[in-house]
Symmetry: C2
Subunit: 249 residues, 2 copies
């Protein structure tokens, strides 16, 4: 049995997230359809994470097992041909038998893109949270540093989401100008449900001068969702990278 790891990208706009559901097209649904046509058997797809409806990915990973001898390069070509235009395929590599796209993942990097503009730019609109006011980017960057480290992120998790431990390690976090956009980038070993979007909503309030960086420490310490900012819209969020380094590597 071969175990294959595939890296893809997708525009999340049209999808009800990664995980298959009844009411909307999903990324996994498209992959199931394409892989069935290629492999001639249903594939049990392990995704690196569930992504919310509307969230984008420049590097999403999934793994599955097959006895089909199709070469890695051939699978990339066939998937590219069979998947819709809002999905792309970076690579396919054979991985050890015990590899699992989710459990073997050692970290992920997300970007949240703010567009500080009163004017709508249709070319950016699907990928940004447009904010018409002034943003203090230096204050946002300084505040983002408060997320770094190992913390209980309960305050930065969607209210009512399942409890399976809420301690996570954020490796790095910062806010910088990238062209005309203000981009929050955060990398960590794992993220709770809506965690990056709540971090982004909190940083926006700080950038707009409605909140101080200290409020992040208070929210982390007390763990109450109400102490953090609002959940920023899904469309500004993008999974940028998945890490599979060995520990210490």
């Amino acid at each position: 049995m071969r175990n294959l790891l595939v890296r893809i990208s997708f525009i999340g706009t049209r999808y009800g997230g990664f995980q298959v559901q009844e009411n909307a097209p999903t990324v996994c649904g498209e992959l199931n359809r394409a892989l069935l046509a290629i492999l001639k058997h249903p594939a049990e797809i392990k995704g690196v994470s569930r992504t919310d409806a509307g969230v984008h990915a420049r590097d999403f990973a999934f793994s599955f097992r097959t006895n089909n001898p199709i070469p890695e390069e051939g699978l990339v070509r066939a998937l590219t041909a069979l998947l819709p235009a809002d999905m792309g395929v970076h690579s396919c590599t054979e991985v050890p038998e015990d590899f699992h796209a989710r459990y073997s993942c050692t970290g992920k990097e997300y970007a949240y893109r703010f567009f500080p503009s009163k004017e709508r730019d249709p070319f950016l609109e699907p990928f940004v949270y447009r904010y018409g006011g002034a943003l203090d980017v230096a204050a946002m960057d300084a505040a983002a540093a408060h997320f770094v480290g190992t913390h209980d992120f309960s305050a930065f998790r969607a209210a009512g989401s399942s409890t399976q431990g809420s301690v996570r390690t954020v490796f790095r976090a910062g806010v910088t100008w990238e062209g005309g956009l203000v981009v929050f980038r955060v990398a960590g070993n794992g993220f709770l449900y809506n965690m990056v979007r709540i971090m982004a909503g909190t940083l926006l309030e700080i950038g707009a001068g409605r909140r101080t960086a200290d409020s992040i420490d208070a929210a982390l310490k007390q763990g109450r969702r109400t102490l953090a900012g609002p959940t920023a819209p899904a469309k500004g969020l993008c999974l940028e990278q998945c890490f599979y380094e060995k520990k210490g590597g």
Copy 2:
């Protein structure tokens, strides 16, 4: 009676071009709908050009007359609110009575974007012509210079399109790398139907080594459509700028 000039941008993917038609949503159809709601009377919209189905615009201009006293800034805000997310509004300015978005235009700049990649990037896909082979960008740039000047562009016009003179002046034309894209930019006083897409298709053949720059001179001289290259796909084309300088200005 006020005469207003509005500059907009749009993603052409969803539209059957600018001009209203029965079978598809159109850019002008969206503008008609929004302006009727704002002005309370139908507006007779003069667009700077018809654009083909699927062609994008970062700076499209149109003008219309109204007795409605709405301030220019208010019209920008109202249009932005009423138009769909794949359209944006840059500005609105009052112009002289005899101004006409099409006839007063002194020139336009188009960009045609090639993405030299076997891999599909879903974030670029709607805006580029993806080409899997190698491209000689220096050869394309040198060849583009052959378009510059005043020529009869009959060979670079869709076969069977209406005859209303085929002499146009190209101010400048070049092909350069912009990030990971190969971009053909061309500015001129006017363009025939499909002219930029046929220029782009011809330059692609030159970049791929299947044609020489001399063939452009032969096509211009003999004026036969069959001597030029194929019409490149609409989605790679974008109207980048409309010029309204006074002559000599």
